[in-house]
Symmetry: C2
Subunit: 340 residues, 2 copies
Amino acid sequence: MNTTIKDIARLCDVSITTVSRVLNNKTESIGAQTVKKVQHKIDELGFRPNLIARRMITRQSHTVGLVIPDIRNPFFSEFARGVEDHMNNQDYGVFLCNTDSSLEKEKQYMTILQGKLTDGIIFTTQNKLESSKSFDDFIKNKFPIVLVERYLEGIDDVPGIYVDNKGGAADLCRFIISRGHQDIACITGPLQTTNARLRLEGYKEALLEAGIKINEQIIIKGNYRYGSGRDGMKNLLDNNKTKFTAVFACNDMMAFGAFETLEKYGLKVPGDISLAGFDNIPFPEVFRPQITTVDLPAYNMGEKSAEMLMKIIKKEKLSDIRFQYSLDVVDKGSVDFLKV
Amino acid sequence: MNTTIKDIARLCDVSITTVSRVLNNKTESIGAQTVKKVQHKIDELGFRPNLIARRMITRQSHTVGLVIPDIRNPFFSEFARGVEDHMNNQDYGVFLCNTDSSLEKEKQYMTILQGKLTDGIIFTTQNKLESSKSFDDFIKNKFPIVLVERYLEGIDDVPGIYVDNKGGAADLCRFIISRGHQDIACITGPLQTTNARLRLEGYKEALLEAGIKINEQIIIKGNYRYGSGRDGMKNLLDNNKTKFTAVFACNDMMAFGAFETLEKYGLKVPGDISLAGFDNIPFPEVFRPQITTVDLPAYNMGEKSAEMLMKIIKKEKLSDIRFQYSLDVVDKGSVDFLKV
DNA sequence: CTGAAAGCGCTAACAC
DNA sequence: GTGTTAGCGCTTTCAG
């Protein structure tokens, strides 16, 4: 049997209320002697109050759920750390849920998290259709939730944080164009997802604005994974009849994959082909290749979403129900001036 | 007000016991009609039982704590994923705690986790003295815990999983020696930690066994961080009078740092200097440099520790109280045959 | 087959 | 200053 507040009370010859008060630092109205006596016993026995019981009464779990596709993805581990650090400062804990973006797992976790296990949820997903099914309950129940880069059609009153995918992609492409490139290929993300579509839109916007015609032949569909970058590049090199001098891969992983192919074909980056990605996955600076990219402020986004969630939980007013980060291009030298 | 089991009972005109039974699938002894009626109401209202209340009674949280230094470190995110996957299969959740190896944070988290929030803890730490202070309570309380690569002096009845640091380092150095190298420098980890000491011991063992004299001049103290690899290498190159043809950095991050310096000095790896690390941090294969290293099976270790912890929680018998992984060298070509 | 009642360990009015 | 008491929402004997 575990020691409880009752045991302490008995041992100290006081009521459980008194013990409870000491435990909660409500000592203003208790004799200094009593406090000391009780505290001493608590320390002596190494007694820890049962938080579950406390939570039952106070009706808050002091925990939030963090639902992400995969903690091994550097973006999400950065993000998670941002969440945890902020929550930790507020005396909140984090319950980790990896879903692999599987609808099944997402639902399963959501159900558990709703069971009073958490006071709120930060939810991210990727690589799949933007359905709102998993959220119906949450939205109905008004369960505190913050969405991260999740675009729900027809629903705009759910708090969320977003990045300016379109603007970032456009800026990056403008940068490429400013180096003299006109024939710029694109390896897209999975176009069922809004953020992949937005990046593609940004690409098109920048080209059109520069008076460059969109050539669908050099727009290859990928899925944000390494392999699809590698294969997409192969495809571009083997089957395509249009020339191109630069490639915009819609995320870094695909850019790395594309690089593998370029290297295999004996093409230099930059020099023969310029290459750019998106995400700014953090690697040591000595690593090669270094690919020009667009930075996603993962840690900040984690902190920000934690901050928003806390406000919702504490019923404070949100300044913006949706927050959008603008994105910066990070020049790492993989895009150079076009030689004439 | 939230719906509770009581509401369902009232609405269905049955007792709360009956509702509880339906909720827990103990329907053998209930009329099919009743079950249907109750289940229907539950679905209709989207009712979810309060898990906190349930936990209070059943006295188990179905959650484990995962205490790690930093989820952003690829080793720990792999590890964490292994833990989560195993726990998930057992219907257990994971409560994430980043400590930055700070004693303060560790204690803070431990206290919370012990407060019945979790049924057990998986604990890892690094970069500091192996004191048992944080654990006194746990060990006294017999709180289920699994240590990961944490060596506690004088305590050997606490379950833990370990890797064969000494053997791995020795094998790696034997590999280097087998390529003809005799003058092998070493950049160590922080020697207050047991695992850094063990890696150094492995290095020495391999050299001695090959009849090579240990030269303390080319053993540089590092701290497992990138910067200390970079600076250690500089130190080795600038101030040291003994020649060396290979360097064993006691982890990959330091090896990458060392590589930065070598590159800056115009030295080729391999060719001019052979270089090896430890950990096998996962990066895409296109990346350069690729450093020969010793693989740490992070994901497996996560799964294994989760498995051990579950056995302890369920009071099943552990086959071994301590489990040790043997380690394999991964040749990535950064160590070549010594030119004569 | 079903229900009444006793708690789990704690907090929070409300008394004294 | 301190104690009594009534729950929080659920599970679980034990009766019927």
